[in-house]
Symmetry: C2
Subunit: 191 residues, 2 copies
């Protein structure tokens, strides 16, 4: 039996997207966002929703590009910090000790220490309400060599991503492999 909890923005999992941007003066900024995800396969696109009040909102609108950085679980404190502070008043890279690297594809920085980044060109800006959704075309995916396996493929066990639970305001790590997609469901098909 299901119980009504009201109209809330709860979903599991939500990602921890660290959005890298430059401001008008060229200062790099990083903010944490949970409202987003891949939204199209062709062109390859990712969406992230931001409130107008955020520093990142103006930066993306001005620069036309951004990065989506995925932290490993060892950077959970830094990721949380990026969501606590505003770049209007703080140099979050300087304070956190993390290193901004200028993308050669878009006018935005990515985070050297994080294992995985999407470099995105702003395609659409969609007004939804309190949040505006920025849709970026993924121009490239870059990963640290240390998270690739011997064949050059991404190894999620080395990336160690984590997720955000909106209702309990908590971060959870990745757990065990449950099965292969487009595969373990075949048992039902064959029943």
């Amino acid at each position: 039996m299901k119980k009504s909890l009201g109209a809330k923005t709860i979903l599991y999992p939500t990602p921890v997207l660290i959005v890298g941007t430059y401001d008008a003066a060229g200062k790099p900024n990083a903010m944490a966002a949970a409202w987003g995800g891949i939204c199209c396969s062709s062109p390859p696109c990712v969406a992230v929703s931001l409130r107008k009040a955020t520093y990142t909102y103006g930066n993306i609108a001005q620069q036309g590009g951004f990065t989506i950085n995925i932290p490993s679980e060892k950077y959970v404190r830094e990721a949380d910090y990026f969501g606590l502070m505003s770049g209007k008043k703080t140099d979050k890279f300087a304070e956190s000790g993390l290193t901004p690297v200028r993308s050669d594809l878009v006018n935005a920085p990515y985070i050297a220490e994080f294992p995985f980044v999407l470099e995105c060109r702003l395609l659409q800006k969609i007004e939804l309400g309190l949040h505006t959704q920025f849709v970026g075309e993924i121009l490239d995916v870059k990963a640290e060599e240390g998270v690739l396996d011997e064949k050059g493929n991404l190894d999620i066990e080395k990336i160690r991503p984590f997720f955000y639970a909106p209702d309990s305001n908590a971060y959870y790590g990745m757990g065990k492999l449950l099965g292969k997609a487009f595969s373990i469901g075949l048992a039902i098909k064959k029943k």
Copy 2:
């Protein structure tokens, strides 16, 4: 040092969203989608991207509503099955043995056995390319009483959600609690 992997739709984590709809004849359908997530806090909205070729695409467009069901890890096979088959040719509820329940808020079914559901009214349909993004206003969140704690709050340890890793085509369970959000980053702020 980061290595370029090309323009790919990879992100960690991506959710396993089971989209519940009715077709024109009233047959319930469920499909698995990974391209989506919460996209606005007010109004509370969730986005899910679908290809025109899917049965669900037509169902949402016709009915103006859908549900987003979150499976527990014990239903990973059923979730995968919902992504393997098309409702055009299959009665996926009958085949999987899961139970459709008619929402009293939108013209769509939710899945009795899954712990958590969002009931959504279609607000926007945004063409992005191969995928169309459906933005739904969350009219209610419902959860099984068995996943609530003694205070009536959601207990993620009882929900046991899992995520999808697009590059390795695999499902991973939830891991351990890493820390509280808007809290563990304060240590950096105070440095």
